[in-house]
């Protein structure tokens, strides 16, 4: 089929399906926690605004979560269909971690999701809240295990190799808490929280622009902007530490991120440029002298290895890694700007008055998704040409399948994903555009019904029809 090999198609297929998949978890992880917070506030303060916000987001959550589940099942089987040799070899180490993910996370999410979404009239408020909490905890467990798996592939540790050429576990603690895992876990969970915060902020801002008196929208906007201003700087700090750790374990990835081909003492920080892997040089570079070394080694004269010091067959594609990393950082800057702006307005007591801030927040809605996707592409493409870094090459990982099979299924995946998940995103956007808390009439009637909550838990309903 054309001139593409089965392995390239398999890589494209994995990248395509996992990229679609991660969009939903990134949002569900944050939203599940946010829902738990909202329901907790409602139970505590008995202010119906929180209940309205909870019901508003719950429906949206249901749609997104469903898409996360079905796209995730594809991922679980894709290791076998497309990366059979990798599965055979790495299975004894990463398989059990994924097994723990299923047992401790997926079942927990699924077991309580039904109660959370449909059980409001069937169980008491405490039990319902417990279900919401379990769903949130489940998403975090899931992130824990799958990121441990991914981190082990980035920085393998605690393993031996047996006669059959398989990786076998030696020390589970070292496997699970491999060197890059703590950084990746924190960075990704914060990324999910920021992603959600900016979606919530954008939706709230959109409703504030239409009616700045809308109570649920005000609460949502305020909460989202607190997250923006508090979490973004933390995320930047964690990202910096993450990068220092990567320098230790995957120096070629850092060289590609920085666009450095030569070894440096006192390396510049490259702001922009076009890395050219053929010519082995960075074209049109705009750089700040010495800052690169300062950031990565905390010394003006620190030494950094360039890509040329690695054999050509061990280098990742610099162009992709260089740019996706910069886009991620740029998104971080945008988030920080919006956060600081909101803090300034809040101090003036004009948080809900500034229409330009609201417009900016609407525009910043997708920044989290963009940063997450770019971050992952940096991480994954930067790991190339290895699947298990330094130990198993991507070319040695692939299944014995032919290009027609993979190509056809890739094509079908692309069509089906765009149509079905496209519709799903459309439905989510439509739900987001509904006024939170409904019109005033609906709001008062829900107030009336809500007052009976503790006695008869029949007041929360699955809004939307």
């Amino acid at each position: 089929m054309f001139d593409i090999s089965a392995i390239d198609l398999a890589r494209m297929q994995f990248a395509f399906t996992v990229s679609f998949h991660i969009i939903f978890p990134a949002f569900s992880i944050g939203l599940a926690s946010y829902l738990a917070v909202l329901e907790g506030l409602w139970l505590w303060k008995k202010d119906v605004t929180y209940l309205n916000a909870f019901n508003f987001w719950k429906t949206i959550f249901a749609v997104g979560f469903g898409m996360g589940v079905v796209s995730g099942i594809v991922m679980a089987y894709q290791f076998g269909t497309n990366w059979a040799v990798f599965s055979d070899k790495a299975g004894p180490v990463i398989g059990p971690l994924m097994g723990y993910e299923v047992l401790s996370a997926f079942f927990l999410e699924a077991g309580f999701l039904g109660v959370m979404l449909f059980g409001q009239k069937k169980v008491g408020p405490k039990l319902h809240y417990f279900a919401t909490l379990m769903v949130a905890v489940g998403t975090l467990f899931s992130a824990f295990w799958i990121l441990s798996v991914n981190s082990w592939m980035q920085t393998p540790a605690g393993y031996l190799i047996n006669d059959a050429g398989q990786f076998v576990p030696d020390d589970w603690i070292e496997v699970i808490f491999n060197p890059s895992f703590p950084y990746r876990f924190v960075h990704m969970v914060l990324a999910a929280y920021l992603t959600t915060a900016f979606v919530v902020g954008a939706v709230a801002a959109y409703h504030l622009l239409r009616n700045k008196a809308n109570k649920p929208a005000r609460v949502m906007f305020s909460m989202a902007m607190w997250m923006a201003v508090l979490i973004t700087p933390v995320q930047m700090f964690v990202g910096d530490q993450h990068g220092l750790n990567t320098l230790k374990h995957q120096p070629a990835k850092i060289a590609a991120i920085e666009g450095h081909y030569e070894d440096y003492r006192g390396a510049p920080l490259v702001l922009f440029g076009i890395p050219d892997d053929e010519k082995e040089e960075l074209l049109y570079a705009i750089e700040i002298p010495k800052l690169g070394s300062l950031l990565l080694t905390h010394s003006w004269e620190g030494e950094l290895r360039g890509l040329k010091s690695f054999p050509k067959e061990d280098r990742p594609n610099s162009f992709i890694v260089f740019w996706t990393f910069r886009i991620m950082v740029a998104m971080g800057m945008v988030m920080l700007t919006v956060g600081l702006w909101s803090l300034f307005r809040r101090a003036q007591g004009k948080l809900y008055e500034d229409r330009w801030l609201a417009r900016a927040a609407v525009l910043a809605g997708p920044t989290g998704f963009i940063a997450v996707l770019c971050g992952w592409v940096t991480t994954e493409v930067g790991r190339q040409p290895w699947t298990v870094y330094g130990a198993l090459r991507t070319t040695e990982s692939v299944s014995p399948i032919n290009a027609t099979e993979v190509g056809t299924s890739l094509l079908v995946f692309i069509v089906v994903y765009f149509v079905l998940f496209g519709m799903g995103v459309f439905y989510m956007l439509r739900l987001m555009s509904k006024t939170p808390g409904g019109d005033t009439e609906h709001a008062t009637s829900s107030l009336k019904r809500a007052s009976g909550l503790t006695g008869a838990p029949s007041t929360l309903d699955h809004s939307g029809h």
């Binding site: 749609v63 469903g66 180490v93 097994g99 047992l103 039904g114 409001q120 299944s399 399948i401 799903g424």
Partner: protein, 336 residues
């Protein structure tokens, strides 16, 4: 400590797959019946609501089956998935088509809802058929050379695997219809009962056909069924099957609500035991045994600890979820 860890794990995986078939079987069956139920009444709403709160949990057993295989029998996973490439992808796509419909159906306009009904039915039928084909192809055996699949792209396709594919569609219809007999009332229940009667008769015929064909696929299978100690099973299984079928049909005739559902599951479990006998001691017939496919004991043990602690908890909260949504479904009770 001389536990036969691979054997224990084979039993656990077998349990996970059985749990999947028994649980997701009925909610897939509900989807298979969708096109045959009028869209003008609220029957389709009820059918979907009867499974909406639990389908995700049911499907998770499939992830455990696949994920578990990856974890403890990585070689089997690495051989089976490429061998069954097309039916596996078809199953995954089918699960997507039906999985999204659970929510999308309620988000679409009245006019467009029909498309998600179609998506739900199409996905359910496709996923079921693909699972049946996978089963048939596994029973036929998979060609392994040097730790990897060595057959062609279409080895899975044969009259036998198509037969098992069709049989599973009928079988899940039986599970789904007896579920609806239990969960619904009135007209819908009457329709479900008819479905159960027809699919009950058909499934017995198909089980007969598959059982007759299986021993001739491979001389080993013949020996396993008709020689040695398992001969007892060869006699016992059909007898028990007849008893279950009796309970099913009598229950349906007498308008009993729970027994037909249990009897239908009895039939499934017996078939499953039969397949187990056919397979043993192979993980992937005809060459990969349970022990050859297993990961090292250290991997098996590590996950076993968690399994022994977590699976009872999973069973407990799964039962709780079913308990919360017990009784007949109605269109008001907190569903969509």
């Amino acid at each position: 400590m001389e536990f036969d860890l691979p054997l224990i794990w084979a039993a656990i995986i077998a349990f996970a797959i059985l749990a999947y078939v028994a649980l997701d079987g009925f909610d897939l069956g509900v989807g298979i019946m969708f096109p045959f139920v009028s869209e003008k009444t609220d029957h389709r709403d009820m059918m979907m609501n009867s499974v909406a709160p639990i389908w995700d949990g049911n499907e998770t057993w499939l992830v455990l089956g696949g994920g578990g295989l990856f974890a403890v029998f990585p070689l089997a996973y690495a051989v089976v998935m490429p061998a069954l490439y097309a039916p596996i992808i078809a199953m995954l796509l089918g699960l997507i088509f039906r999985g999204v419909a659970f929510e999308f159906r309620w988000r679409a306009s009245q006019k467009n809802r029909i498309w998600w009904d179609r998506s739900f039915a199409f996905g359910s039928i496709l996923a079921t058929f693909a699972q049946g084909v996978c089963l048939g192809a596994l029973i036929q055996g998979i060609h392994v050379v040097d730790r990897s699949y060595a057959g062609g792209s279409f080895d899975w396709l044969s009259p036998f695997s198509v037969l098992t594919g069709v049989a599973l569609i009928v079988g899940y219809t039986l599970l789904g219809s007896t579920w609806l007999v239990m969960k619904t009332e009135g007209d819908l229940q009457i329709i479900a009962r008819k479905f159960a009667q027809v699919s009950g008769i058909l499934i017995l015929a198909l089980i007969g056909a598959v059982s007759l064909a299986t021993p001739f696929l491979h001389p080993d299978y013949f020996a396993r069924w008709f020689e040695g100690p398992s001969l007892i099973f060869s006699i016992l299984v059909p007898v028990l099957l007849a008893i279950c079928a009796g309970i099913l049909f009598i229950g349906l005739r007498r308008n009993q609500e729970i027994r037909p559902f249990l009897a239908a599951h009895g039939i499934f479990i017996l078939c499953y035991i039969g397949i187990g006998i056919t397979f043993y001691p192979y993980m992937v017939p005809p060459s990969l045994t349970i022990w050859a496919a297993a990961a090292p004991d250290k991997s098996l043990f590590f996950l076993l600890v968690g399994t022994l602690v977590l699976v009872p908890m999973i069973l407990a909260y799964t039962i709780h979820a079913y308990w919360v949504f017990r009784g007949k479904v109605d269109t008001s009770g907190g569903y969509h």
